[in-house]
């Protein structure tokens, strides 16, 4: 078991390292931050000073090694624009993003899974068809369209809710709705098909044949077995908590990570962009790790299969 954990952790670290290296190479290859930040008319000695200040004159591999060394010491660099530590700038924005994404995730789980399970238990009913339709719309309506339509209805036409900004809890309603509606549909569809698959298994028929009450069949046999694939999907959703907010924050002018990355990218603020990528990659990798460990708890078969192989 220890080795399993070790291998998983090593892989997670490797993935993060790959993402960071990829980001480093792409970002360094793509242009001269000195030109962008100082403007095309900057005097040459200012440009040189800027380059010397940020180590941009060294060969790329030296920059890369220096960068890795910094990372290893948990030094994520300082913003090229306002010279404050990049990690601090990023962390300041994280709560605002989580304030949208965590409630949205809760809504997805609390509505999506019961709706999917209900649909699976009442196949071909009106509720079932509704779940399918909702999930298809969740999959096909892009968040920027949904967000703008919600703004059009509830802010512009009805005037019930603000169209953007962050000035009180009711400002969060539309962004959260935008984020969760699609996810509810997807999770419902997924839970539905996982449940239907499990309900078709021989052990469910056996449980029914031996006269177990239907309620017990569902709660003791079907749900725990359907949980494994559902947990995988939730893991992806948790991983995307921080990354998923870019478009929605942009629509609603919400001051979170998503806004920060759009602004930093436009400003070519390398340190901040790298730092955001690191935070996002780390959160996705962490979520995957949690899912892997959750499997073991949910499905003893997987655990023994792993140690037996």
């Amino acid at each position: 078991m220890l080795r399993f954990i070790f291998v998983k952790l090593a892989r997670a670290l490797l993935t993060i390292l790959l993402v960071m290296s990829f980001a480093f190479i792409v970002l360094r290859l793509s242009g001269d931050p000195a030109q962008i930040l100082l403007g095309p008319d900057a005097p040459q000695d200012a440009v040189d000073a800027f380059r010397a200040r940020w180590g941009l004159e060294d060969p790329l591999w030296q920059q890369y090694l220096a960068y890795l060394k910094q990372l290893a010491m948990f030094d994520f660099g300082v913003s090229m624009r306002d010279h404050s530590p990049a990690i601090q700038l990023v962390m300041e924005r994280v709560p605002a993003t989580l304030a949208l994404t965590i409630p949205a995730l809760m809504l997805k789980i609390c509505i999506g899974i019961p709706a999917g399970v209900y649909a699976a238990l009442h196949r071909e009913s009106v509720a079932d068809r509704g779940v399918i339709m909702l999930s298809i719309f969740g999959f096909t309506i892009p968040s920027f369209v949904l967000g703008l339509v919600l703004v059009l209805i509830f802010a512009v036409n009805l005037g019930w809710l603000p169209a953007g900004g962050q000035d009180g809890w009711h400002y969060a309603i539309l962004p959260i709705a935008t984020m969760s509606i699609g996810g509810i549909g997807i999770l419902a569809r997924f839970s539905r098909s996982a449940m239907i698959e499990v309900l078709g298994q021989p052990y469910i028929r056996t449980a029914m044949a031996k006269g177990l009450p239907w309620r017990d069949v569902v709660w003791k046999h079907a749900l725990p077995n359907a949980a494994v694939p559902i947990v995988t999907l939730i893991g992806f959703m948790v991983g995307a908590l921080i990354a998923g907010a870019v478009v929605v924050e942009s629509i609603f002018s919400w001051p979170g990570i998503g806004r920060l990355i759009v602004v930093s990218v436009a400003n070519r603020d390398l340190a901040v962009v790298q730092c955001i990528l690191l935070v996002i990659a780390a959160s996705m990798v962490m979520a995957n790790l949690l899912v892997d460990f959750a499997y073991g708890a949910l499905d003893p078969r997987l655990r023994s299969a792993r140690s037996g192989k």
Binding site: R3, F4, R306, S307, G308, K309
Partner: protein
């Protein structure tokens, strides 16, 4: 008769996946086999599942590289798998599979599949190709109008005929049939076996016929080798194996074939676990199931030795100890 294929000391072993804590273990599927296939002869290889007979067949064709041992085709060593020489050699040696449906591409017509060896080896093109494919279809007893059919539209026996036609397309000299009829209905088996025998006699093909079914083997083979857990335990001309089996394992196998008049009287029922290459018994691998085993059998591995006009590997086969057959 000249040897077309000679195998010496063939060994094949597989490494099982590493377990979580333990080490990787190796399983010997074939454990030191000497075998000669002669020109124009049908050699049967008989054994239960797990005896290594299919692995042996694949090695004889050069589809797998032996872990140890040497293989010579017409006096030349077998080229490495997937090398250009190896590919060229495929035109001369062919395999007939157990499951014809799996061996055929379900998206191509049978004519296209029979034409493949001719195209691959550049043996015919255009109208010559069509003519030869039509000839092959006729030779294996399919109707010309079936040329445009797809494998799933044919019956099992017809599919096996397609596989045979494809194998014969490049005029091979050496054919390995790996359980060619065991997936077919009993009523169809005889037809396919007869077809194989006719083709073999007509072309003077050398053939290795792998089967667990002695009735089928008896019909077609000139010589039979009996395998048990990766080794040959007895090898003799077909008549001798069936009329006078010597090795106790062969005796048990032969006694399970009903004979006209006597039925299954005198049948020897094998006791114990079926052979498992992962847990090989010490000494003579057959001794836990052998009805005449002595303590020495668990200690010493018997060699395959000449014994009364045949090869057999049994410690108890010294003349005075030999049980009456």
């Amino acid at each position: 008769m000249n040897a077309i294929l000679q195998a010496k000391g063939l060994v094949q072993q597989y490494t099982t996946a590493k377990s979580f804590f333990g080490k990787a273990s190796t399983v010997r599927a074939v454990d030191g086999v000497d075998l000669t296939a002669k020109q124009g002869e049908v050699l049967g290889i008989v054994g239960e599942s797990g005896s290594g007979k299919s692995t042996l067949g694949r090695m004889l064709l050069g589809l797998e590289t032996p872990f140890q041992g040497e293989l010579r085709y017409l006096g030349q060593p077998m080229p490495a798998p997937h090398s250009p020489e190896w590919r060229k050699l495929r035109a001369q040696m062919q395999l007939i599979f157990q499951d014809p449906l799996a061996a055929l591409d379900r998206r191509l017509t049978i004519a296209a599949q029979i034409a493949e060896p001719l195209e691959i080896h550049g043996l015919a093109a255009d109208s010559e190709l069509d003519r030869r494919v039509a000839g092959l279809i006729e030779r294996v007893g399919l109707r010309p109008d079936q040329a445009g059919r797809y494998p799933h539209e044919l019956s099992g026996g017809q599919r096996q005929r397609v596989v045979i036609a494809r194998a014969l397309a490049s005029n091979p000299r050496f054919l390995v049939c790996d359980e060619p009829v065991s997936a077919l209905d009993v009523s169809i088996q005889a037809q396919v076996v007869n077809l194989l025998r006719d083709l073999q006699e007509g072309e003077g093909l050398s053939m290795v016929f792998i089967s667990h079914d002695l009735k089928v083997v008896r019909n077609i083979c000139d010589r039979v080798a009996v395998m048990y857990l990766g080794r040959i335990v007895e090898e003799a001309p077909s008549d001798q194996i069936f009329s006078d089996p010597r090795h106790p394992y062969t005796q048990a196998l032969v006694s399970s074939v009903p004979k006209a008049g006597t039925g299954l009287r005198g049948r020897i029922i094998l006791q114990g676990e079926p052979p498992n290459p992962a847990a090989r018994p010490s000494g003579c691998a057959f001794h836990p199931r052998c009805r005449i085993a002595a303590p020495a059998c668990a200690a010493q591995v018997p060699a395959l030795e000449y014994n009364d006009g045949r090869l057999a590997a049994c410690l108890k086969l010294q003349p005075k100890l030999r049980p009456a057959a």
